[in-house]
Amino acid sequence: MIFGVPVQALMGQLLVGLINGSFYALLSLGLAVIFGLLRVINFAHGAQYMLGAFVALLLLTVGGVNYWFALILAPLFVGLFGAIVERTMLSRLYKLDHLYGLLFTFGLALAIEGTFRYFFGASGKPYAAPAQLTGAVNLGFMFLPIYRGWVVIASLIVCFAVWFMIEKTRLGAYLRAATENPVLVQSFGINVPLLLTLTYALGAGLAAFAGVLAAPVYQVSPLMGTNLIIIVFAVVVVGGMGSILGAIVTGYMLGVVEGLTKVFYPEASNIVIFVIMAIVLILRPAGLFGKDA
C-alpha cells in the first residue's frame, strides 16, 4: 500500500499515464517543431490531429484501406494539406507579429472543426482496432490492451526519429540554421521557404499520425482535438517552447502525473497540468528544457 492505494493499482495507473503521455508527447512534438522552427503557435494542431483520425476513418469506410496503410497515408494527406495552408496563407504572416499566426491557425481550427461537426455530428463514429492488435495481456497487476502497448511503442519510435532528424542530420541542421538566419542560409543556395513549408507539413503530419493512433482508442469525433489541444499547449510550455526533447520528455512525464492525480484526487485531474505549468512559469519562465532564459 502507498498512501492507501494498493501497489498493483498504482502500477496500473502509472502505465495508463504513460499511454496518455504518448499522445501528449507526439502532439507536443509536432507543436514544438512548428514553433521552434517557424515561430508559429499552431492552434490548428488539434484540428490536424482530428483530421488524421477522420482521414483514417474515411479511408476505411469509403476506400476499404486498412489501418496500417492509413497510418502512413493519413499523415501524408494531412501533411499535404498543411503544406498548402502554409504556402498559400500562413507564409504571408511570418513578417508580422506572432499573434497573427496564432489567430490565423485558431480560426482555421474553428472552421475545420465546425465543418466536420456539420457533416458528422458531435458524437462521431467508431473505428475498430486492427485485428492484429485487438485483445489484451494480463500483466498480473492489470489488463493491458495490446493496442495501448502498441501506442507507446509507436510513439517512442516516431518521437526518437523526429528528434534524431532535427538534431543529428544535415537536413535538420539546415532547418535549424534557416530559422537562426534565413537570409544567410538562403545565400548558400538553400531554398529556405521550401524548408519552412516542409517543416509545417511535418508538424501537421505528426498530429495526423497521433490522430490515426488515437482513432481506435477514442471515438473519432470532430471534438477530439479540442479536448486535447489545450493540455498539449501546456505540455509545450512546461517543456520549453520550441524545445523538441523537452516536449517529448514533458509529454510522458505529465501523462504520468495526470494519471496519478486521477487516483489521489480525481476532481483535479484536468487542472493538474495547468497548475504545474503555472509553477514552472514562475520558477523557470523558459520551461524545463528551454534554452534561453
Partner: protein, 400 residues
C-alpha cells in the same frame, strides 16, 4: 369607397382585441442548448428542428398570431446561458425558453425565468432538482429525469443480481443527481454502493477511472455521465477487459443518438432507459420518419420530448386565450398531455410531466434488420413508478 374604409376600420377594431391577447403580436419560442459540444447530438440542432416541426404541425399560428422559433448555443456554460436568456427576454420578445440541455444550465435559466415571469420547459436536462427544492411555478420538466433513469436502468440491473455498485460520475450537478438517485434506489432494493469516482466533463481518457472501478470489485459500474463521456467510457471499458471480466456497465443516461455514435458492436447488450423509442408505435414511427427526412437522424427522447413540450405549450396558449404566463402555466398544469410521445401524460404540481418510460436493450448487430432499429423494448415502466412522488420531491409548491 367610404363604406369600404369604414368596414376595414371596424374589422381592424374587431381584430385588435384578439391580437392583443398575444404579447407583441407573436409567440416566440427559444430553444437554448448545446450545439457544439459533447451534447450536440443528444439535443442540439435536432431539438431545434423538432420544435420547428411542432410549430409547423400546429399550423404556424396560435390565436392568429404567428409563432417563431429562435435558437442559440449555450456551450454548456450557465453564465453564457443566463446572458442569452436575459437578452432574449428583455430585448427579443422571447416568451418561453425550452430544451436546456445540461442540468447546471437548466437550473440557472429556470431560476432566472421565475424573476422574469416566463415559462421554461426543460427536455434536455436530467436533474430532479428542477422539480424538487428548486422547482418553479413556471418551470416544467418534460421527457425524463435522473429519478426515472435510476428506476429504469438501476432497477433492471439490481433485479438481475447486480446488487453492488461503483459509480463513474461526471463532476457537476447532473452527475451528482444521477449518482444520488441511482444509489438510493439501489439501496432501497437491497443493494449496496461501494464507492464513486468523479471525473471532469469532456475528457478523453477514462481508463484510470475504469481501473479504479474495476478494482472495487463491484458487480455493476454505474456510468453517471452522458454524451461523448459515456461513449468513451463504454469503449474503453471493453478495451480494458472490464465487461469481459464479468462486471456490468450501467449507462444511466444513454440515448439512441449515442448508441448510433458508437455502433451496435460496442453497445450491444446494454440496458438503458428512455421515455421514447421511435419504432414503438405507428404514431411514433410516423413522426420519426418525418424527422429523419429533415435531419438525417432518428429522434431520441430529447428531440421527441421537445416536440411534445412545444405542442403542449401552444395548446395551453390556445386554451387560455392568451400567452400571459400565469394563465398559460395554469393550463399546462391542468391539461393532459396526449401525443405520440406521451400517451396519457399529466403535469404534477411541481412541474414534472409524468408519462411512461421504457426499459430498452441494445440488440446484437446481427438482429438489427433496419437502420436505427437498435432497441428491444424490455419493459414499460408506468410514469407514477418512474418519477418521484411530487409530495416527496421537496418542492415547496406541492405542500400548499
Amino acid at each position: 369607397m367610404r363604406k369600404l374604409l369604414l368596414s376595414s376600420v371596424s374589422l381592424g377594431l374587431l381584430a385588435a382585441p384578439a391580437l392583443a391577447e398575444i404579447s407583441d403580436g407573436k409567440v416566440r419560442i427559444g430553444i437554448l442548448n448545446d450545439q457544439s459540444g459533447v451534447y450536440a447530438d443528444f439535443g442540439g440542432k435536432f431539438s431545434y428542428e423538432a420544435a420547428r416541426m411542432a410549430v409547423e404541425d400546429f399550423g404556424g399560428t396560435v390565436l392568429d398570431a404567428p409563432i417563431e422559433v429562435v435558437t442559440a448555443d449555450h456551450q454548456n456554460k450557465p453564465d453564457i446561458a443566463s446572458n442569452i436568456a436575459r437578452q432574449w427576454y428583455d430585448t427579443e420578445q422571447v416568451d418561453t425558453i425550452m430544451e436546456l440541455t445540461t442540468s447546471s444550465v437548466a437550473l440557472a435559466v429556470q431560476a432566472l425565468s421565475v424573476d422574469a415571469k416566463k415559462i421554461t420547459m426543460t427536455t434536455g436536462a436530467a436533474t430532479t432538482e428542477l422539480t424538487g427544492a428548486q422547482c418553479s411555478p413556471y418551470g416544467f420538466h418534460w421527457a425524463y429525469d435522473t429519478h426515472a433513469l435510476a428506476v429504469g436502468t438501476g432497477g433492471a440491473l439490481v433485479k438481475e443480481g447486480g446488487d453492488s455498485w461503483y459509480f463513474l460520475t461526471a463532476d457537476y450537478a447532473f452527475g451528482y443527481s444521477l449518482e444520488e438517485n441511482t444509489g438510493e434506489f439501489v439501496k432501497s432494493q437491497g443493494g449496496e454502493v461501494l464507492g464513486a469516482v468523479r471525473h471532469p466533463l469532456a475528457i478523453t481518457d477514462y481508463s484510470s477511472f475504469l481501473l479504479q472501478a474495476q478494482a472495487s470489485g463491484a458487480k455493476v459500474i454505474g456510468l453517471a455521465n452522458a454524451g461523448a463521456d459515456t461513449q468513451n467510457s463504454i469503449k474503453q471499458a471493453a478495451e480494458f477487459g472490464i465487461t469481459a471480466g464479468g462486471q456490468r456497465l450501467a449507462a444511466l443516461l444513454f440515448t439512441l443518438a449515442e448508441v448510433h455514435g458508437i455502433g451496435a458492436d460496442s453497445a450491444q447488450g446494454l440496458t438503458l432507459t428512455e421515455s421514447f423509442y421511435w419504432n414503438r408505435t405507428p404514431e411514433s414511427r410516423e413522426f420519426a420518419e418525418r424527422f429523419k427526412e429533415r435531419t438525417g437522424a432518428m429522434p431520441n427522447m430529447v428531440h421527441a420530448g421537445t416536440y411534445s413540450a412545444v405542442t403542449s405549450y401552444l395548446k395551453a396558449i390556445e386554451a387560455a386565450g392568451t400567452d400571459e404566463t400565469e394563465a398559460v402555466a395554469a393550463k399546462l398544469h391542468e391539461m393532459p398531455v396526449e401525443d405520440f410521445f406521451a400517451e396519457s401524460g399529466k403535469v404534477a404540481p411541481n412541474g414534472r410531466m409524468i408519462s411512461d418510460v421504457y426499459l430498452l436493450e441494445v440488440k446484437a448487430p446481427g438482429d438489427i434488420t433496419e437502420e436505427w432499429d437498435y432497441f428491444n423494448v424490455l419493459a414499460t415502466i408506468p410514469g407514477d413508478e418512474a418519477y418521484m412522488d411530487p409530495a416527496e420531491s421537496g418542492c415547496p409548491l406541492v405542500q400548499g
